[in-house]
């Protein structure tokens, strides 16, 4: 076993708390840190759903409630969803392209270490006398710049902005690293159209960060000036306009949702072929569709402002572009479905999560197409229909993909296998909990229940109770996962190099890989997902399936 093996000799765990420049260490650091923030964000969600269990306000005050959903959204997006896939990509991309490390290892480490600092700063705002930011994760002015007379320069909203800017800097560093790595560090023979789809999705997502994130930074800096330094860019009474903020904000935040989703779709594209023993159907279309998101998602942002101060011609224009973004999304879904058709399926936990995620993603995508239809959106905008739609994306698709990825690459990262039984239990609880928690939001929204309310009309009580119970079930469902992952790190059976008989360069090296990933840099001569190749088309009596 090599010296980078996880938890084999006791002294190796220390490196996860150190300033290591090894992408494998940094990847794990990202993932563990972001999972911690996931649990914190989940706790905030439990409080929210506990309040919404009954129509009246009886658990938290209105201000605290507004702070809860603001921080829940912010933590989940910027400290969980984005960093965890940056972490996974950090670990996997160099391996998948046959490189020894990322292009800029020191930059990589710096980008990671910003995150725990920014996250702590953000969460510390709960302890300020006037509390955290509480204007929603969008922080729309003029609400977000309304300060009470007792608040000074340092307040929940300004800490929020500061933390976001820090996270933004970390993201740009990571994006520069990923894009350079993927363009420059591929091994001989690894042409762009031999890269696994996970690398394509990482490349596309990180390019989008580079192009669009600065718009959010600009918006936040101007907001900070309005908040603390007396300018009036977004204050209508003094000649400014809040609509400018909205455009700058959504110009990033729409592509952002694809930045969150693309790596998850990349995970599906890796896991599904491995457990169906089929090449990914339509690899070339999927690769091109993936990359096409970079320009296409940049021209749809106004659909978040359909009900706003948007002239009719702009609403109709952006409705067309919004509806068209369904096409590359559909290409991927149909490709996965065709990969599963006529296959030889091994029903492992990783695959269950992947398939469960794909099925729920279809519902997420369909509700998305519905929302793109302007008159319908005017009815359900800012209702629970939207909340249901995006949670079907971020939880029922992206988190499912995350769990699929963990079960799939756990042997590679830790050198041990985790328990299948606990994995299946985890899947069952998660799938049930997620459906109970988020499906009721669709009828609630259709019936007109607004989002971000802390108390509601009694007619909405039944569905809210189902949703809250589902949320508590989801909270409980994390336990088998934690038990499985932690215990298996110590007690799991030792994993082979390629326990799934999967294609991909990461499986051609030991589990876990040596310090420089490969004994010698491999040369690639074949297309990806060659499940017909004799090396993968094997009979393995020692496998669990």
């Amino acid at each position: 076993m090599t010296d980078s093996a996880l938890l084999h000799p006791p002294q190796s765990w220390r490196q996860y708390f150190s300033f290591s420049t090894d992408h494998k260490v940094i990847g794990v650091q990202y993932m563990v840190t972001s999972f911690t923030f996931f649990l914190i964000g989940g706790l905030l969600a439990m409080l929210i759903r506990a309040e919404l269990l009954t129509p009246q306000l009886n658990l938290v005050s209105r201000e605290l409630y507004n702070g809860l959903f603001t921080m829940h959204g912010t933590v989940m997006i910027f400290l969980w969803t984005i960093p965890t896939f940056v972490g996974l990509g950090n670990y996997l991309v160099p391996l998948m392209i046959g490189a020894k490390d990322m292009a800029f290892p020191v930059l990589n480490a710096i980008a990671f270490w910003i995150l725990p600092v920014a996250g702590t700063l953000l969460l510390s705002s709960f302890f300020l006398p006037e509390g955290s930011a509480k204007s929603g994760w969008w922080s729309y002015p003029p609400l977000s710049t309304q300060l009470s007379s007792t608040q000074g320069l340092v307040n929940g909203q300004s800490l929020w902005i500061l933390a976001m800017v820090m996270i933004g800097i970390s993201s740009i560093m990571a994006a520069v690293n990923f894009v350079t790595t993927i363009f420059w560090m591929r091994s001989p023979g690894m042409t762009l159209f031999r890269m696994p789809i996970f690398v394509w999705t990482t490349l596309s997502a990180q390019l989008m960060q580079l192009i669009f994130l600065p718009s959010l930074t600009g918006a936040l800096l101007l907001l900070l000036f309005d908040l603390d330094f007396g300018t009036h860019f977004f204050q209508p009474a003094e000649g400014g306009t809040p609509v400018l903020y909205q455009h700058l904000f959504w110009f990033y935040s729409h592509p952002a949702v694809y930045i969150w989703a693309l790596p998850a779709w990349g995970v599906f594209s890796e896991v599904i072929p491995a457990f169906t023993r089929n090449p990914l159907f339509g690899y070339r279309s999927v690769a091109i569709a993936t990359f096409s998101f970079v320009p296409i998602t940049g021209v749809v942002w106004v659909h978040h402002m359909f009900a706003g101060a948007t002239p009719g011609w702009m609403r109709t224009l952006f409705m067309f572009t919004t509806e068209l973004v369904a096409v590359p999304t559909g290409i991927k879904v149909f490709a996965w479905t065709a990969t599963i058709w006529k296959s030889k399926i091994h029903l492992d936990s990783a695959f269950l999560f992947a398939v469960g995620g794909v099925v729920m993603f279809v519902l997420a995508g369909i509700t998305g197409v519905m929302l793109g239809a302007l008159p319908f959106d005017l009815h359900v905008n800012n209702t629970y229909f939207i909340v249901g739609h995006f949670h079907y994306v971020v939880f029922n698709t992206i988190v499912m993909a995350y769990f699929a990825a963990i079960y799939y690459w756990f042997p590679k990262i830790t050198g041990r296998m985790c328990s299948e039984g606990w994995g299946k239990l985890h899947f069952g609880l998660t799938f049930l909990g997620a459906t109970l928690n988020f499906f009721p939001m669709f009828p609630l929204g259709l019936q007109g229940m607004l989002r971000r309310v802390s108390s509601y009309d009694p007619q909405y009580a039944d569905w809210n109770m189902v949703s809250s119970l589902g949320a508590f079930l989801l909270g409980v469902s994390t336990l088998p996962f934690l038990v499985n992952v932690i215990v298996s790190c110590f007690e799991g059976p030792i994993a082979k190099d390629n326990p799934w008989h999967a294609t991909g360069l990461e499986w051609q090296t030991s589990s876990p890989p040596p310090k420089e990933n490969f004994d010698s840099i491999p040369t690639v001569t074949e297309p990806p997902y060659s499940y017909g190749d004799a090396r993968y088309c094997v009979q393995d009596p020692t496998s669990r399936y």
Binding site: V179, P188, G239
Partner: protein
């Protein structure tokens, strides 16, 4: 499997069979050489630290430009729509001879920088250091001029949209000028280390590109703030 040198221009791949819809190598060969150096020619370039570094620096600067694009867009939108640009009697930023001179100094410093870099490539170390230092001095001169201009203006940060956008735009630009000068000082210091340029002069090239970026930004800023 031996690796071909990344500089000989030949594609690395032994086997071109992949599903690429177009021939990327052909596309790259048809580009001018100054553009080619930013774009890898296929797998196996990890030894080319200079090319890799300049690619990273270039995409970073393109991203950084987007912050300024968002500021420019905000400036244009506010200028066109607000009812409160500047109060009556306040004339706003003026392209006085002083301002024009300072701008000329900043923009010329890019040319000085170009000659500095050329001297380094020709291994004329002393000449490089002198021209490099001159560039920094011109940058500092510009910054001092900016501060003096700020002190002499009859509007502040909170004086309408005009005041706010002016100080935010010039302030962030000044921040980038300062960063550029700091980078130059670091590179100047490192030029005194023995064998500093054994692995190429990526640091100098990167600091150089950053400075040109800062200058181009000023040209746009100047047009928006003073000429419009």
């Amino acid at each position: 499997m031996t690796q071909a040198s990344p500089r000989d221009g030949q594609p690395i791949h032994q086997n071109q069979n992949d599903e690429s819809p177009f021939n990327l190598q052909q596309l790259r060969r048809n580009l001018p050489s100054w553009l080619q150096r930013f774009i890898p020619s296929g797998g196996g370039q990890h030894e080319d630290h200079h090319g890799k570094g300049m690619f990273g620096m270039t995409i970073f600067l393109l991203s950084e430009s987007m912050i300024f694009v968002s500021f420019f867009a905000s400036y244009i939108v506010l200028r066109l729509t607000t009812t409160d640009w500047l109060p009556a009697g306040v004339s706003g930023p003026e392209a006085s001879p002083t301002v024009i001179f300072h701008s000329a100094v900043l923009v010329s410093s890019s040319f000085v920088l170009y000659f500095a870099e050329r001297s380094l490539k020709r291994q004329q170390l002393t000449r490089f250091r002198l021209l490099w230092l001159l560039t920094s001095a011109m940058g500092i001169y510009f910054l001092i001029g900016e501060v003096q201009e700020w002190a002499g203006l009859d509007f502040g940060l909170t004086t309408g949209m005009g005041g706010g956008t002016f100080y935010v735009l010039t302030g962030f630009h000044g921040l980038h000028v300062t960063t550029g000068i700091l980078l130059q000082f670091i590179m100047l210091g490192r030029s005194f280390l023995p064998n500093n340029y054994e692995n190429g002069h990526f640091g100098v090239s990167a600091a150089s590109l950053f400075w040109h970026f800062v200058d181009v930004l000023w040209l746009i800023l100047f047009s928006l703030l003073y000429l419009w």
